[in-house]
């Protein structure tokens, strides 16, 4: 693939919920996930093949939302977008569990211009796309996307996370309480309902230093549940993708859903 096309494809994949290009992983990497007192945490955010090495593209932080244990919003500080990674700092002052999330909710359109026959692409909201797509456009294809990419940090005693009820999301008792050799049960939800029979991939970081990915491929059951027995301590990347027809935009044919989480497992 030509570099330009590749970048384009990646950009599209990112805004379309990363369903199209499986090859690149978008991830958040916090400096700590467990703190015993109020403190600062810094987070790297990048897109790369290797987990978790920032060697490809920075992650766009426009949709960053950090939620404190009491439901209030934490303002990220020192936001920086470099060539290979984005960075931000968080001042975590309350005890409890924080949710650090990139939530993408967008529409992607592709059409052919009648006059030139050229393929055009655009993304945005239903309104902005309605204005952009000419009335005589051919082969208009509209796809809706809903993606969530998140990680969790706990200061002191963990608190219960509230599910958002939107798109794909992971529900578990405590996402910062994972230990090597122990079994953790998760529930995957789609719009607040059990996400049945979806494949979940769980990959241990440091992939550069081993020959095989050795990712765990799991499947949610009829209740949306699955469990992981952690083989090693380290940072893991959990990833789920699916599509459905529950679009909220009239012309959209399908909705692409994605979920990714960075989880730390202690020895």
């Amino acid at each position: 693939m030509k570099p330009f096309l590749r970048t384009l494809a990646l950009g599209l994949a990112l805004c379309a919920g990363a369903a199209a290009v499986q090859a690149h992983n978008a991830w958040l990497m916090p400096s700590s996930t467990v703190l015993s007192k109020a403190d600062w945490v810094t987070v790297d955010a990048a897109v790369s093949n290797d987990l978790f090495f920032f060697n490809h593209n920075p992650l766009n932080l426009d949709s960053l939302a950090v939620t404190a244990p009491d439901g209030s919003t934490v303002k990220p500080e020192n936001m920086f977008k470099g060539k290979l990674r984005s960075v931000f700092d968080l001042n975590l002052t309350q005890p409890g569990t924080y949710r650090v999330a990139l939530v993408n909710d967008g529409i992607f359109a592709r059409w052919k211009e009648k006059a030139t026959g050229q393929t055009k692409r655009a993304r945005g909201t239903a309104e902005s796309l309605a204005a952009q797509i000419p009335a005589d456009a051919l082969e208009v294809e509209i796809t809706q996307s809903a993606g969530r990419n998140e990680t969790f940090i706990t200061v002191g005693k963990p608190s219960t996370l509230r599910a958002t009820g939107k798109g794909l999301e992971l529900v578990t008792a405590n996402p910062t309480d994972l230990v090597k050799g122990e079994k953790t049960s998760f529930t995957l939800q789609l719009d607040g309902q059990p996400a049945k029979e979806l494949e979940v991939t769980v990959t241990l970081g440091n992939t550069r230093y081993r020959d095989k990915l050795d990712e765990l491929k799991l499947k949610t059951d009829a209740k949306g549940q699955f469990s992981v027995t952690w083989p090693e301590a380290g940072m893991y990347w959990l990833d789920v993708n699916t599509t459905d027809q529950k679009t909220s935009v009239p012309k959209a044919k399908e909705r692409r859903l994605s979920y990714a989480a960075t989880l730390e497992v202690m020895p």
């Binding site: 467990v34 703190l35 015993s36 403190d39 002191g156 005693k157 309480d177 230990v179 202690m266």
Partner: protein
């Protein structure tokens, strides 16, 4: 007369003289390393279901330099990972009669009687004593000793750490 007097006293104070207790001896090993910091140590008792019956001791940097009433060292309490997860994160530091400053290399004793802050009344059953040590720019080690409560007779058991802990002994007093 003497006997009657002490009996009356014992009745008055809820017979503390007869409370069962336990003594934990913890050896902090002398290590030959270029940068040495005293380890943070936690000692606690778990029930068979891994719930915590009581934290006997937490040694950390309790100094209050920058107006931090919890002590300077609370940032690293999480490094005693198992204790932190099982009970540490539920506690408000410092805990009177439980937390105290770090100890130098050598043998140290923690003696607690049942019914104190550190050791609430334990229903009869199987328990485990855990001792966990974590050292700045060093390692972490955890050892455990199972025991039955209440003890039928005075008893002693021991376990030896291999890196961050020396010998740990548990003495039970009926």
């Amino acid at each position: 007369m003497q006997v009657r007097y002490s009996l009356a006293l014992a009745a008055l104070f809820g017979a503390p003289a007869f409370a069962a207790g336990l003594t934990v001896n913890i050896e902090v090993p002398r290590l030959s390393v270029s940068e040495y910091h005293r380890p943070y140590v936690a000692a606690w008792i778990e029930r068979p279901d891994q719930s915590v019956a009581g934290t006997l001791a937490v040694w950390y940097d309790v100094k209050n330099k920058g107006g931090n009433a919890e002590g300077e060292g609370t940032k690293w309490l999480k490094d005693m990972r198992q204790w932190w997860r099982r009970t540490g994160r539920e506690l408000e530091m410092p805990v009177d009669g439980v937390s105290s400053a770090t100890r130098p290399a050598g043998k140290h004793q923690i003696a607690v009687s049942e019914g104190s802050v550190a050791l609430p009344k334990l229903p009869p059953g199987a328990y485990k004593l855990y001792v966990e040590a974590a050292r700045e720019v060093g390692g972490r080690e955890i050892v455990s000793i199972p025991f039955q409560w209440p003890p039928a007779k005075a008893d002693q058991s021991k376990v030896a750490g291999s890196s961050e802990l020396g010998e740990v002994t548990l003495e039970l007093k009926p």
